[in-house]
């Protein structure tokens, strides 16, 4: 019983202090038992001593010196705030994506509603899990979200300047961007069959799928990654609320990663439907390869533009 008690206390503590605290507690329990009326039986003594020492969890907390939180008071407000945005964005995104899906699918109404609710449930669950995970990591690593004010000497002059209007990050833009990503993610994921060129022949709508269904499958994971990174970037912006150098660097690195991934997907020639490559070259003045190249250049320019913009704002207005 004593061993179990000591184990219950020390298992919560840092590895290196376990053994010592363990032997100290053992000696203490022994001493306390010796100090008791000798008319008690051994079991009674143990019972009384352990009760006196109290809940092992509480004792471990005292040794640790601070409470443990998954998401502590420092982060809780921001956590709730971000959670609301994420859940709302997912809700809107999935709803719109399903709406689009309805137009192109022949499923029965029940099937659609069923899959809508299913997707909604699992996506919100997943979004919530991600947000919680990120914040739990912040808590665990004690990463501060707003710098400068929390610890150490404090001077009124150190109060952060009222963010200049130009340094503020538009929350609306970020939310919009998250919603767009949440719409396109399921579209790419489940409805990629329907992405393609639509044309009319004899009053009948036909379409050519853009992608080669079989060969696209292995790239799904990358596509998810690209969208997820973009969502993370926007979340970081919302959390910070204004441009800083740190934020600019982080978003730049992330967007370079996501663009690189995206471009490398584009260049896997076999993801494209060969038919569409042919058709495209039939009707357009440039070759399909050229088109991919142009898209790539476009993506690079946008990425560089965004990064330069972020860094410029960060350096000019960030000040930390």
């Amino acid at each position: 019983m004593i061993d179990r008690y000591i184990y219950a206390v020390t298992k919560e503590l840092p590895e290196k202090s376990r053994k010592e605290i363990g032997s100290e507690l053992r000696a203490l329990i022994d001493d306390m038992m010796d100090g008791m009326d000798q008319s008690f039986s051994e079991e009674e003594k143990i019972d009384k001593v352990l009760r006196e020492l109290g809940n092992p969890q509480e004792l471990a907390n005292r040794y640790r010196g601070k409470e443990r939180y998954l998401i502590g008071p420092n982060y809780f407000d921001k956590y709730l705030f971000v959670m609301k945005i994420v859940v709302l964005s997912i809700f809107i995104g999935i709803s719109i994506a399903t709406g689009l899906g309805v137009m192109f699918s022949n499923d029965s109404m029940y099937g659609i509603i069923g899959s809508y609710l299913g997707t909604l449930f699992s996506s919100i669950l997943q979004g919530a899990a991600w947000v919680t995970g990120v914040f739990a990591l912040f808590e665990y690593k004690e990463i501060t979200l707003v710098t400068g004010m929390e610890q150490g000497d404090w001077e009124p002059s150190q109060l952060p300047e009222l963010p200049k209007k130009k340094a503020m990050i538009s929350r609306g833009e970020s939310i919009f961007s998250i919603i767009i990503s949440t719409i396109f993610l399921p579209v790419f994921f489940y409805l990629y069959k329907y992405i393609g060129i639509y044309y009319k022949v004899d009053n009948e709508i036909r379409y050519l799928p853009l992608f080669n269904e079989v060969d696209l499958a292995p790239f799904k994971i990358f596509i998810i990654l690209v969208f997820t990174i973009n969502i993370v970037i926007e979340l970081l912006k919302i959390i910070q609320g204004r441009w800083t150098v740190k934020l600019a660097i982080i978003t730049t690195v992330l967007s370079i990663i996501s663009s690189t991934l995206f471009i490398s997907i584009l260049y896997k020639m076999n993801i494209w439907n060969p038919e569409i490559v042919q058709k495209f070259e039939q009707f357009m003045p440039i070759s399909f390869e050229r088109m991919v190249l142009l898209t790539t250049v476009g993506i690079i320019i946008v990425t560089i533009g965004e990064s330069v913009f972020a860094l410029y704002k960060g350096i000019k207005y960030g000040g930390d």
Binding site: S17, L28, G35, E58
Partner: protein, 123 residues
């Protein structure tokens, strides 16, 4: 009827009072413990000693406190393995002695001022 309400109220008042007294005591624990550690003591002997002298402290408060003070360098410790059971002895370190002296001064200061405030009120 009226009496019943009164007891409930009294209980509640007691709780509030107890809370404040606890808070007041909590601040003095460190000072009280340090005062007894000019000679090396192990945890349980210290519990017994302090309770004998009228300062109630429980092992589950004292042990973590001793450890923390050791970490802060105020106490130094030594395992004594000669006896029948191994025991960890704590004692004020050089640094701890300085801290203790200053704490005593601070205590005197607080005591004086608070007593003055209370006395003014009384007279």
């Amino acid at each position: 009827m009226k009496r019943e309400g009164d007891t409930v109220k009294n209980n509640n008042d007691d709780l509030i009072l107890n809370g404040i007294v606890q808070e007041l005591r909590r601040g003095t624990i460190t000072l009280a413990v340090l005062s007894q550690l000019k000679q090396p003591q192990y945890g349980y002997s210290l519990v017994v000693l302090m309770n004998e002298k009228g300062f109630d402290i429980e092992a589950n408060t004292l042990y973590p406190l001793l450890r923390r003070l050791e970490k802060q360098g105020i106490l130094e410790s030594l395992w004594d393995t000669d006896g029948t059971k191994p025991r960890k002895f704590y004692k004020l370190s050089k640094f701890g002695e300085g801290v203790y002296a200053k704490l005593c001064d601070a205590w005197d200061g607080i005591n004086r001022v608070v007593n003055q405030l209370i006395d003014e009120e009384g007279s």
